[in-house]
């Protein structure tokens, strides 16, 4: 079928364009990785002697390590909260008759189609006007809100494909609703739930603006990186960037891989 819509000449052009795009996308990241091993304080070519200096100084720098663990904790909790809340909400939207369905679904998904800075600023103004001090638990709730739409949409897609009859069978054999969700529905959705956890984790791990607005002194990794980038150059920032890149990339790729390939597996089984 491929030959029907793309002739040889077009194929050549499209392939070249795709290749060129990959170069443009990956060039700066490769440069950053190369520089992270480059000795010398200034980020200029040609490449000097290779060094692990920046990685060593990164590990020795408590402010980076601490902010990494803060981010790790925030993102873990936010992804777990969002996946649980998202699973429950997705179940309701998929299997129950929800009054004002479109409106409520819109409210839950809305944070996805609002510039993130507006969510952050709204929450900041709110806590100031009712007199709550900025703190990490607010960041946690804010980031949960921010990744919740991803969880709801992802899990709803999965739950939609499971026939209601499965659950009904369990219930008519004497199971309760809750039991049938935990013992039947959740295991069937396990790959999607896992992917959703990873996906929401990566998004909240990289989230900057909500965290920036809702804390004063506790610093997450994106805030630490941002401060370093806007207040003056630290050569180890290349090493930080490389580490963060590889860390998020691994998690994001696993999530994306499960979502893309598991879905094709499902379709195959159906056919």
């Amino acid at each position: 079928m491929n030959g029907l819509i793309v002739n040889k000449f077009m194929l050549l052009i499209l392939t070249a364009f795709f290749g060129l795009s990959l170069i443009v996308i990956y060039l700066p990241i490769l440069v950053m990785i190369v520089f992270s091993f480059n000795s010398g304080k200034y980020q200029t070519l040609p490449f000097r002697e290779p060094t692990f200096e920046w990685y060593v100084s990164l590990i020795a720098d408590n402010s980076f390590i601490n902010s990494f663990f803060t981010s790790l904790m925030m993102a873990s909790l936010a992804s777990i909260f969002a996946t649980i809340l998202g699973f429950l909400a997705a179940y309701a939207f998929s299997k129950a008759k929800v009054p004002a369905h479109a409106l409520l679904f819109g409210i839950v998904v809305c944070p996805l189609v609002i510039p993130m800075i507006l969510i952050g600023i709204g929450m900041r103004l709110q806590i100031v006007s009712i007199g709550i001090e900025p703190a990490l638990w607010l960041v946690l709730l804010g980031q949960t809100l921010y990744v919740l739409p991803l969880a709801v949409i992802n899990l709803k897609n999965r739950i939609d494909k499971i026939p209601k009859s499965m659950e009904e069978a369990a219930i008519s054999l004497g199971s309760t609703r809750i039991k049938s969700i935990i013992l039947i529905l959740a295991p069937i959705c396990a790959p999607s739930i896992f992917a959703t956890l990873l996906l929401t984790f990566t998004f909240s791990f990289d989230e900057f603006v909500i965290a920036y607005f809702l804390t004063n002194f506790e610093v997450t990794l994106p805030i630490r990186i941002w401060t370093s980038l806007v207040t003056g150059f630290e050569p180890k920032i290349n090493a930080v960037g490389t580490a963060v890149f590889i860390f998020s990339l691994t998690l994001g790729l696993i999530a994306q891989f499960i979502l893309l390939f598991k879905q094709t597996d499902l379709d195959k089984n159906k056919a």
Binding site: I5, F17, T44, P115, M116, I121, F208, V244, Q256
Partner: protein
């Protein structure tokens, strides 16, 4: 028993998520609207009048909109050949892998990606070094810390996002439709014009819409690639909250930014509604 098992009470499932959205999204939004309308002499539009009579704020708004529109247009144009290539030129088995190749950097920090372009675009960056290597002349690029650098950085992001949404639309096109058209003698261009383009349109529009939202509210690319001298609205908001702390001004700017999104998104939303109506008829 039979009756109760068929009707599920949605509220216990829905309430936790809904509560979070109401407390941390709806109420703050209402609060922000009220705050933007509150002035020293009571309720009124004074904050908005002040905004539109302050040149450096209206210029920032203009910059935000220009930046977002340029980046979105560029990204959405690039998305077509990319998504088209992945869906129609790549073996079905390998499609997700090709998509992943384009999307992989998408999963890493937005800030880090913007920063990595500094290394390439700056006056002593990789491009300048490469030109010097080839021509032997040292050049001053003057790209970094300009509006064009911002547009470029955001356009790259938009092209990834739109490729992703467009891919979703193109990959679900029934191949029988294309085979039938071809068997009946349709030329490749006509297949594209009459089948692929209209069916890809919803995915494309969704990508454009999401791209615009991200671009108009972004502060990272405008700061790291565009520099701080000609700020966009999001940068000004950031500096107000960490600096002068004029809350009603921050709220006013936020509302204006939200209105911009709504106004630019409105044609797309109306289009979507009309389309849905046409499909259901």
């Amino acid at each position: 028993m039979g009756g109760s098992s068929n009707t599920i009470n949605p509220w216990p499932f829905l309430l936790p998520a809904l509560l979070l959205c109401i407390l941390f999204f709806l109420i703050p939004t209402v609060n922000m609207v009220i705050l933007s309308l509150t002035t020293e002499n009571g309720f009124g539009l004074d904050n908005f009048k002040l905004f539109f009579s302050t040149p450096h704020l209206t210029q920032a708004l203009y910059r935000s909109i220009t930046l977002a529109i340029s980046a979105t247009i560029m990204g959405s144009v690039v998305a077509w050949p990319l998504a088209y290539f992945i869906v129609f030129c790549v073996n079905k088995k390998w499609r997700p892998l090709f998509l992943l190749a384009i999307l992989a950097p998408f999963w890493t920090s937005f800030t880090i990606r913007a920063f990595s372009w500094q290394l390439v675009l700056s006056d002593n960056g990789v491009i300048a070094w490469f030109i010097e290597l080839i021509t032997g002349m040292s050049v001053t690029l003057g790209i970094l810390y300009t509006m064009n650098a911002s547009i470029f950085g955001l356009a790259l992001f938009c092209s990834m996002l739109t490729t992703f949404t467009l891919y979703g639309a193109l990959v679900s096109i029934d191949t029988k439709l294309i085979e039938a058209a071809s068997n009946l003698g349709a030329k490749p261009f006509n297949i594209f014009k009459d089948i692929i383009f209209p069916l890809g349109l919803p995915g494309w529009i969704a990508g454009i819409f999401l791209s615009f939202i991200v671009c108009v509210g972004d502060y990272a690319v405008p700061t790291l690639l565009g520099g701080g001298l000609k700020p966009v609205l999001a940068q000004i908001m950031l500096s107000i909250l960490k600096g002068t702390y004029d809350l009603s001004q921050a709220a006013t700017i936020a509302i204006i930014l939200a209105m911009t999104v709504i106004m630019c998104g409105l044609p797309l939303i109306i289009y979507g509604m009309l389309r849905r109506k046409r499909v259901s008829v």
